[in-house]
């Protein structure tokens, strides 16, 4: 496996899990009249335990992995709140208004700064 793993929206890259597609669709094959499948790798880690972890697991991981939070630059609570609000307003995440602050408070404990 030759990738360096960063975080993708959905494809999170326990590299071993992707061996299958290299064999199925890589190689020298050239006949698109076939059925091609991949097995996406499982999540590498869940959000770590802590106050608000349940909300983060329930609201964030529908669309992206927890890695996407842990690999961001450390953000302040206000910046995390802005990110959560963006996920709700811009990307359509079904986050209750009353949960935005609690999720931001949790995220700042996971990857935050003053």
């Amino acid at each position: 496996m030759r990738w360096t793993s960063i975080v993708g929206a959905a494809l999170l890259a326990a590299a071993g899990g992707l061996g299958a597609w290299g064999a199925a669709a890589g190689g020298a094959q050239s006949d698109p009249n076939v059925t091609v499948s991949v097995t996406y790798p499982p999540e590498r880690q869940m959000f770590k335990d802590g106050e608000g972890a349940g909300l983060a697991r329930a609201n964030c991981q529908i669309c992206h992995s927890s890695d996407y939070v842990y690999t961001q630059p450390p953000l302040t609570k206000a910046q995390w709140a802005a990110e959560v609000t963006k996920m709700k307003r811009v990307y359509g995440a079904n986050i209750q208004d009353g949960d935005v602050d609690a999720i931001a408070a949790y995220l700042v404990t996971q990857n935050g700064r003053e």
């Binding site: 030759r2 990738w3 360096t4 793993s5 960063i6 975080v7 993708g8 929206a9 959905a10 494809l11 890259a13 590299a15 992707l18 597609w21 290299g22 199925a24 669709a25 890589g26 190689g27 020298a28 094959q29 050239s30 006949d31 698109p32 009249n33 076939v34 059925t35 091609v36 499948s37 991949v38 097995t39 996406y40 529908i62 669309c63 992206h64 996407y68 690999t71 961001q72 630059p73 953000l75 990110e83 811009v90 990307y91 359509g92 995440a93 079904n94």
Partner: protein, 340 residues
């Protein structure tokens, strides 16, 4: 997932099983039946089309082009101050030989109307929630009609891997990868600029100062477009040890399609430059490999740098571009090595 720079040192073309992968939405098909797959061409056309991959292969002249596919946010992790988003190093790019049918030929066979303004592209990638904007992109009609723009069904002589868009993806040489829609199954000719989220709100750059601004500065924005000239050292990583004597340095360079004119090399952090030798020319949209040499003395550290100049006269800058989305980085990169 990004490609290690050492892979680019092995050949002009990036192997399919090492090519970077990026999607936007989590609804990505895990299985695709290539035989049943169709590309629909519709909108402001006289003849709607529904094309199988065999139709694309047999009804249109096949063309092959070497072209770099680079994520808009490649190298975002190096932005200072840092910005949110995928924290890529420099490996969100690759170079491949793409084989397919010209989009212009396909559009002509659909007889677009005189009022065509843009062409909109959609693939099989979908959001998990209906409230999340679907990933659709648009090109101005005159860009879409350029002969190098193709719907590709082969990558480096093989089927596209599913993760790179099997069975077909749009290839827009010179443009950032956001336009290279994967699993492309819908091509729509439209009569006004597209107003979808991924054109109107996302993937935009400041429409001033070459896309680079000071942190906090507010400016109008425009959709990102062509890539900027860049170069990298591929055979030596930061902190590498080299043997004293003559040290060979290899790398790659590319731009948005004017071609690489020359690459300058420095072993002293840019205080002085020598001309690098350019490798095989695979076309103006491809990686162009280069090599240079310097003399290393034991116990010395060397700051190696490369600076590419493109056919349009643009040269990599000595200072970094900044914008809030982390796009367009093309600063002269340096690699420090030690002789011992």
């Amino acid at each position: 997932m990004e490609t290690p720079l050492s892979v680019f040192d092995e050949s002009d073309f990036t192997p399919n099983d090492a090519f970077f992968v990026r999607w936007h939405l989590s609804g990505i098909p895990a299985t695709i039946d290539g035989r049943a797959f169709r590309v629909k061409v519709h909108g402001m056309v006289a003849r709607e089309l529904s094309l199988s991959v065999d139709d694309l292969r047999k009804s249109y002249e096949p063309v092959e082009i070497a072209a770099v596919c680079q994520c808009s946010g490649n190298s975002r992790g190096f932005f200072d101050p840092r910005v949110p988003g995928g924290q890529w190093a420099n490996g969100a790019m690759g170079n491949a030989r793409w084989r397919g049918a010209r989009l212009a030929d396909i559009l002509k066979s659909a007889a677009p109307s005189a009022g065509a303004v843009q062409v909109r592209f959609n693939g099989l990638e979908v959001p998990v929630s209906p409230s999340t904007p679907d990933f659709v992109k648009a090109l101005d009609f005159d860009v879409a009609m350029q002969p190098e723009v193709i719907i590709a069904y082969q990558m480096n002589g093989a089927d596209l891997p599913l993760l790179n868009g099997f069975p077909v993806r749009l290839v827009v040489p010179g443009y950032f990868a956001t336009y290279w829609v994967k699993m492309l199954n819908d091509v729509e000719v439209i009569g006004e600029p597209d107003q979808n989220f991924w054109m109107k709100t996302a993937y935009r750059i400041p429409s001033v100062s070459n896309g680079c601004i000071a942190p906090g500065q507010q400016t109008p924005t425009e959709p990102i477009g062509k890539m900027r000239v860049r170069s990298f050292i591929t055979n030596l990583a930061n902190g590498a040890h080299v043997a004293p004597g003559s040290v060979r340095v290899r790398g790659i360079a590319f731009d948005g399609g004017s071609g690489i004119e020359r690459v300058a090399f420095s072993s002293n952090g840019g205080q002085s430059w020598t001309q690098a030798q350019l490798g095989r020319d695979d076309g103006r949209y491809s990686f162009r490999r280069w090599s240079a040499a310097f003399g290393a003395r034991p116990g010395q550290a060397y700051r190696l740098a490369s600076r590419a100049e493109a056919g349009d006269g643009s040269v990599q800058p000595a200072t970094a571009c900044w914008n809030p989305s982390g796009y367009l980085r093309n600063i002269v990169e340096t690699v420090t090595v030690n002789a011992s």
